[in-house]
Symmetry: C2
Subunit: 117 residues, 2 copies
């Protein structure tokens, strides 16, 4: 089991900002998976495994959205994080997106070619 | 309402690693706050406010632990994140710690002098 968060590298964000955006995605995925049959089972298994997360990078918004669409069409839980934009980026900017928790092989179909941030 | 995550700067971590550790802290705080009376009320209020998170830095483990002890003694929810150590840091290394979600003034008593990561 794992959770993947994909961060845009085509917008300027400091490491603290990136961390907060990734944390937002992780919390959103956990809350949205609760009580939702298969997603909830995957969530429980993921928590038992120590909640592994992998943070990946992508160089454009269109590629990011394309991955998320593929994950959705495969029946995976997804989230897209839009920043409030008080600092560093324009209000409403999509900063990152997350997939899972889900079995490794399900997620690898969508993100195995992306590099670690 | 806010959640604070304090990251050690005296150990070497890349930005993806930091993001994963901070996300781990955020998820742990959310799960541990659920169904726990006051903490749960603060969690609900924090989620309604868009789950604001602030990522701060600290330069030693002893200082980090001292802040967490103070937060605990004030009755705040806390978590300490230990890395599995498969990459970048030694197994069992404490990488970051989190406080909250809690009212801003409660958290500011403990962390208002710390700088943003």
């Amino acid at each position: 089991m794992k959770m993947i968060i994909i961060v845009r590298t085509d917008i300027e964000m400091g490491k603290g900002k990136i961390a907060a955006q990734v944390a937002h995605a992780a919390v959103s995925l956990v809350l949205a998976s609760m009580g939702r049959s298969t997603w909830n089972q995957w969530l429980e298994a993921w928590l038992e495994e120590g909640q592994p997360k992998v943070v990946l990078k992508i160089s454009s918004l269109s590629e990011l959205l394309e991955r998320i669409e593929r994950a959705k069409s495969q029946g995976l839980q997804t989230t897209i994080i839009t920043d409030a934009g008080r600092t560093q980026v324009e209000p409403g900017t999509i900063t990152c997106a997350g997939i899972g928790p889900a079995p490794d092989n399900e997620i690898d179909k969508i993100t195995s070619d992306l590099k670690l941030l």
